[in-house]
């Protein structure tokens, strides 16, 4: 069963956060261990397996990027896994230049400005995915998701850098 089906949702790129929360918490109540106290071991084991699977589904679908990557997988778009490399010059040049710019920043304000731009790029790229899926343009979907991975990593690095700068200041 895929993660969408497990939560009783149609497989889709966009899901309202409130809808996801509602279906998740309802399903989680159904399989809560408290309801299986005194039940046979097979039933308790099943409940705990179901609860763990629900948690996985929720974790992956809650984040827009991991949801998009998962939805792409369901649609036959595979991203390179651990230890696999890519050599797309355009994408990597963008990532390299962004990281260099971040590396050179010396003030929290400058980091914030770069991070804000990266998040804007992410939002735009996420918003553009729908059209690519409608066209079933697998190559473009793959490229957009790889770019999103690098933007997400940039955001993570920008947070780390900001914390470092503040620590130095304090």
């Amino acid at each position: 069963m895929d993660h969408f089906a497990r939560l009783g949702l149609p497989a889709a790129l966009d899901i309202e956060a409130a809808t996801l929360d509602r279906t998740y918490f309802a399903a989680q109540r159904q399989w809560h261990p408290d309801r299986f106290v005194g039940r046979p071991p097979e039933e308790r084991a099943k409940a705990s397996t179901e609860a763990a699977a629900l948690n996985d589904a929720y974790r992956i679908l809650k984040n827009p990027l991991s949801r998009a990557v998962y939805f792409a997988e369901l649609n036959g778009v595979e991203l390179p896994g651990d230890g696999k490399t890519i050599d797309d010059p355009e994408l990597l040049m963008e990532a390299m230049e962004a990281r260099e710019a971040l590396h050179e920043t010396v003030t929290p304000e400058a980091v914030d400005a770069l991070a804000a731009r990266a998040r804007q790029d992410m939002e735009q790229a996420l918003a553009g995915l729908g059209t690519l899926f409608l066209r079933s343009d697998k190559a473009a979907i793959r490229k957009a998701l790889l770019r999103l991975r690098y933007l997400d990593k940039f955001d993570e690095e920008a947070r780390a850098k900001r914390m470092n700068l503040q620590r130095v200041k304090a």
Binding site: G83, L92, E100, H103, L146, R149
Partner: protein
Amino acid sequence: MAYSEKLIDHYENPRNIGSLDKGAEDVGTGLVGAPACGDVMKLQIKVGADGLIEDAKFKTFGCGSAIASSSLVTEWVKGKTIDEAETIKNTDIAKHLALPPVKIHCSVLAEDAIKAAIADYRAKASKKDEPQAAE
């Protein structure tokens, strides 16, 4: 997790950080990335008239093992021919730095980077030798 002394040395004192002129005919540039962890690595070689790699530079944004792997490769390739440099295997890098199993992929990135740099250099060299042949 315990890292080897060699790895820590390359991480703390990376050799050959920087850039070479990407547009120069005697410079090959390899740009590779590992999207699963968000690493990006640029490795460049400058090949002399005698066919030996006279300089190598790298720039890596990634974990310590990725930085150490690329630093080591730039050190290894200097003075080698490109054919020799091409034989560098990720397993040699991983072994030399005693990379832990979860970091083996960083050495893969460094091997792919030097291969890409060599391919770029060869593409430039063949274009220079036979300007009309490709058409």
